[in-house]
């Protein structure tokens, strides 16, 4: 470990560290813009200037000495150097506070500001801007530049969600490097030179179609100035006006940490929060931009009761009364919830089902087996794995975090590993632009083409439903017997040679028969990362939220007279029902036919705990969102129990947490924002699921944007129509052509789709909605053909 002297302090830092990190490690500060913990240092902004010198050696290996003192002679770099791209060496002296260094930094700041518009009052970054802070700390405090500043486009739509202000860009290149280095999609680059340089995507001529991938919003967080801004929150508030809450995203099972910025009771902006072991500093565009539905006009904000055939706004007392009038036997009542409620709500539902002694309780979507019985891989395991086999998963849509951590793993450098006094390195010299990716350690198998296949050394499509066969082939190849499937053989060899392999199982693999697939995957050895169907699927399976023997699972309505459903996963009111109570935030599907509606809080408003796909418990903190009279599941159960004169054992988050504390061995209200693993082993419960398909079938594919998010016009326009993707032989069989608009009935729900022909899909596919189990097959009927272009 080289010894380095920073100003007057002597420190030791690891070999290969940058001088910038040495400075921060020693407790000093230099300004910087282009460096970032997760990006390669490139020395673009020239802000981190220091004076530095180091001793040199003679050809014989001895130090060149100063004649007068007899100590090693210091050879200074001429002028000042950028510390972020300077590697430390033994005996290096770094000076950040000398007149020359201070003047160089201030001078550089002046240059950076020469072409900056200084329109901080109208800038959404104002108040949280690295340029503002650094100019205040290190600048001269006034401008000497009296000429006209550069004028350029101030509202350049980079995509539907991102606005670029070309005047504000300081050309740090963070955004450009981000796309190449993190998701591995080069969609942005510098165009022109010198003062005219601006960033753009290659589609600049035709912005209407600009797509920057599923992770584009992260550049808003990265941009050190207000050049790249969130179009959804554009001008909605200043940084100091937001009520900020750090919570956990519930749109998928990643457990990504997010900042929810609300103002006057409305979510205006969501940003990624730093969680080193989970999402690092990245979230997907759905997690970032998909929040407008929370404050949509259509949001249910008070209870509703059906009177004279019409749903009308009512009070909670009237809702209780309406349920009481139905006078139902507890045994004929079913309690169902979506799989994205908190553990606290889950425990309350579990206990209420016991209190009223109904065995008809379930959550949806889930698989026919619990996923906790395997040796679960964490995201860190994934990033450090030497072989990754992805089976039946479209991680780009299903789990953005897993996708990005695999990309990180291909680079082979986890920058947050190296630790300094200031945490992870700010300029990690191991990271390079256009690093070699170790593609050979990634194998991707899926029934449809998925994004990550293009980054995988081994990839192939398999027939829908043939996961078990594939797993058997890989297993055979692992033990030395090759099959006819060359890609499976390659994956088997990869596994055989690996020390820390991870097997990722996604919705396509688990939807049909998770039990058998998990058992087969276990035989391959290594850790397994099964992706649950719901955001809190991993947590809810530890509770008794599946039907007991003879109980009705979700979708099995025979013999039931009353239903309580929390969530919007029921598409139609089951026939022969006397009472349908729906706890929801949006009036869709069966809610339109319900007898009583109880307004539901969204995950952004809740306090509680969730468990992500690693089995990590993460807190939900509740942002300052005005949800009207909406209540969580515990509040909704209060209504039901009042109506049935039953006692509710768990009446709030606190009492639920006492029960969970015994279960997980953790103080639930003290779980840190980064999450914590249970200290006690937890068992998982399961039950068969009902899925029956008849006639033609369609494969339901997972999608990053949830049905709620798509209710926003902005998102719907950006995503475009839902496609029914078929190969030409299937198209012929169904009598449809490319570009046809169809109305389908998928699993009993009406859907409008456009036909797209793609030879790579082995079965017709359609994006899954709230009512669907992603990855599963569903029966489909073509109801109406609305013509086409051919």
């Amino acid at each position: 470990m080289p010894k380095v002297i920073v100003n007057d302090r002597e420190i030791e830092v690891a070999n290969g560290s940058s001088a910038l990190d040495a400075v921060f490690h020693a407790g000093f500060d230099v300004p910087y813009f282009c460096s970032n913990e997760y990006l390669s240092p490139i020395g673009a902004c020239r802000m981190c200037l220091v004076e530095a010198g180091s001793p040199r050696k003679n050809p014989d290996g001895s130090w060149i000495l100063e004649e007068s003192t007899g100590l090693p002679k210091l050879f200074y770099f001429p002028g000042t150097v950028a510390s972020c791209t300077l590697a430390v060496s033994e005996g290096m002296v770094i000076k950040t506070t000398t007149d020359a260094a201070v003047k160089a930094q201030a001078g550089m700041m002046e240059f950076t500001l020469i072409n900056h518009p200084l329109d901080c009052p109208t800038c959404d970054k104002g108040g949280a801007c690295e340029l503002q802070d650094r100019a205040y700390e290190y600048g001269y405090g006034e401008a000497r530049f009296e000429f006209t500043r550069r004028h350029a486009d101030k509202h350049h739509a980079l995509s539907d969600f991102i606005v670029l202000d070309k005047e504000r860009c300081i050309h740090c290149k963070r955004c450009v490097r981000y796309f190449e280095e993190i998701p591995g999609e080069e969609v942005l680059d510098f165009i022109e030179r010198g003062g005219h340089t601006f960033i753009d995507s290659y589609q600049s001529e035709d912005l209407a179609g600009a797509k920057l991938g599923n992770f584009s919003g992260n550049i808003n967080d990265l941009c050190p100035v207000g050049a790249l801004l969130d179009n959804v929150s554009r001008f909605r508030g200043r940084n100091w006006e937001y009520d900020r809450a750090q919570t956990t995203d519930m749109s998928n099972a990643d457990g990504s940490s997010i900042w929810v910025d609300a103002r006057t009771g409305r979510i205006e902006r969501i940003r990624a929060a730093h969680n080193k072991e989970v999402n690092e500093i990245w979230i997907s565009d759905a997690q970032r931009f998909g929040h407008e539905w929370v404050d949509a006009d259509a949001r249910v904000r008070s209870p509703m009761v059906r009177r004279n055939g019409k749903l009308e706004v009512a009070t909670f007392d009237e809702a209780v009364e309406a349920i009481r009038k139905a006078n139902l036997e507890p045994k004929s009542l079913g309690l169902y919830t979506s799989a994205d409620i908190t553990l606290e709500e889950g425990v309350a539902l579990e206990s209420f089902a016991k209190t009223i002694a109904t065995i008809n309780v379930d959550h949806f979507p889930r698989y026919n087996s619990g996923l906790g019985g395997v040796s679960r891989a964490t995201f860190t395991d994934l990033a450090k794995a030497d072989a990754i086999i992805v089976i039946g998963a479209d991680l780009y849509e299903e789990s953005g975090t897993a996708y990005l951590r695999i990309e990180e793993s291909l680079k082979g450098v986890i920058s947050s590993d190296a630790q300094f006094n200031h945490g992870a390195p700010l300029a990690d010299l191991r990271l390079k632009e256009r690093m070699d990716r170790k593609r050979s350690k990634l194998a991707v198998f899926a029934p449809i083409p998925v994004q990550q296949m293009s980054h995988a050394g081994i990839s192939s499509l398999y027939a829908v439903g043939s996961e078990l066969e594939l797993l058997a082939q890989i297993n055979q190849a692992k033990s030395g017997t090759d099959s006819s499937n060359a890609q499976a053989n390659a994956a088997g060899k990869l596994l055989a040679a690996a020390k820390n392999p991870v097997i990722v199982l996604g919705s396509f693999a688990l939807a049909t028969d998770a039990e058998k697939v998990l058992a087969a995957a276990k035989k391959l050895g290594g850790k397994i990362m099964p992706i649950p169907a719901g955001a809190n699927g991993a947590g809810l399976e530890t509770l008794e939220l599946v039907p007991a023997k003879n109980g009705r699972s979700f979708g099995q309505w025979d013999g039931l007279k009353g239903l309580f459903v929390s969530g919007s996963m029921l598409s139609k009111r089951p026939k022969s029902l006397e009472l349908l109570v729906i706890h929801t935030h949006t009036l869709t599907g069966a809610a339109l036919e319900a007898d009583v509606i109880i307004p539901a809080s969204t995950a952004y408003e809740k306090r509680g705990t969730t468990m992500n796909l690693e089995g990590r418990l993460l807190p939900l903190t509740g942002a300052a969102v005005d949800g009207g009279q909406s209540v969580d599941v515990i509040g909704a159960l209060q209504v039901i129990s009042d109506a049935m004169n039953a006692k509710l054992e768990i009446r709030g988050t606190r009492s639920a947490q006492r029960i969970l504390q015994d279960k997980f061995g953790l103080e639930m209200d003290k779980i840190p924002v980064e999450g914590a693993f249970p200290t006690k082993p937890v068992s998982s419960r399961s039950a068969p699921i009902v899925r029956s398909t008849t006639g033609e079938t369609v494969l339901l594919v997972p999608r990053m944007w949830t049905e709620n998010m798509l209710s926003s016009n902005r998102i719907r326009e950006s995503v475009g129509a839902d496609y029914l993707t078929v190969n030409s032989s299937d198209a012929q069989k169904l009598g449809i052509h490319d570009g046809f608009n169809l109305e389908l009935e998928v699993g009993g729900k009406a859907r409008a789709v456009t036909v797209r022909i793609d030879e790579a899909v082995s079965a017709p596919t359609i994006p899954a909605l709230n009512t669907d189990l992603p990855g599963a097959l569903s029966s489909v009927k073509i109801a109406v053909m609305v013509g086409g272009d051919d």
């Binding site: 518009p117 200084l118 329109d119 009052p121 109208t122 104002g126 500043r149 004028h151 486009d153 101030k154 509202h155 350049h156 739509a157 539907d160 606005v163 912005l207 209407a208 179009n231 959804v232 554009r234 001008f235 909605r236 508030g237 200043r238 100091w240 006006e241 006057t264 009771g265 409305r266 904000r301 005005d626 009207g628 016009n713 902005r714």
Partner: protein
């Protein structure tokens, strides 16, 4: 105490009797205000008719009484409200909270908010003390109750004071009367000036936020002000 002293005292009293009285029988007759008087705010405009306010909320940040609430939106080529990228779609001051300190005026980078001269704010309902853009825009004479009374009686607003306004206020009123007059208080920095000249084809209309379509004064949501 002698007779002489008493006579002296009475003499003073007598002398005052013949002087012009200082008492003003307000509100029947107007009072005289000093030029530096700070009363109900005025939202000013540029000579070309565009609002000076760019919806930056710095006044709200500076306000020690938390009296100001600003919501901003983006100017589009079809709806250009201010001289800049953004404008205030909601601008409210709660006159019950305001202490007329003038910090907002000092904080404003564009000289958009200045404290005017109206002070007769007494009203019946507390929510009527929340003044919106339409109540403070330059050219509006009088306070809300005064304007209400005037419109009920179908008469011009009668304010109960005389004043020689200070330079800032006079300038704002002058600009309104004489749109071609050059305004000396244009911001020195680039704020709010450059974008006037920006080319129309820069995509401003293409992906403006959906909420830009709101009427300039968007109604407050129910349930927010609890």
């Amino acid at each position: 105490m002698g007779v002489l002293e008493i006579a002296k005292g009475m003499g003073t009293t007598l002398g005052k009797l013949f002087q012009k009285p200082l008492t003003v029988s307000y509100p029947e007759s107007p009072i005289r205000l000093q030029p530096r008087f700070r009363g109900r705010h005025i939202l000013t405009k540029h000579a070309n008719g565009l609002e000076k306010c760019i919806g930056c909320s710095l006044c709200a940040a500076a306000c020690p009484a938390y009296a100001i609430y600003v919501e901003a939106a983006e100017n589009t080529s079809s709806n250009t409200v201010s001289a800049g990228e953004r404008y205030a779609s909601v601008y409210e001051i709660n006159m019950l909270r305001c202490i007329f300190c003038g910090m907002c005026e000092e904080a404003c980078p564009t000289g958009a908010i200045i404290l005017g001269t109206d002070f007769e704010l007494a009203d019946y309902k507390s929510r009527d003390f929340v003044y919106g853009k339409e109540d403070m825009m330059v050219g509006v004479v009088g306070t809300k109750p005064q304007r209400r009374e005037a419109s009920a009686k179908n008469k011009p607003v009668k304010v109960g004071y005389n004043i020689t306004p200070r330079a800032e206020v006079a300038e704002a009123l002058e600009a309104l009367k004489n749109p071609s007059a050059r305004i000396s208080s244009l911001p020195a920095s680039g704020v709010g000036t450059h974008s006037v000249a920006r080319d129309a084809g820069d995509g401003a209309g293409r992906s403006s936020p959906s909420r830009v379509g709101f009427a300039p004064i968007a109604p407050q949501k129910e349930g927010v002000k609890r």
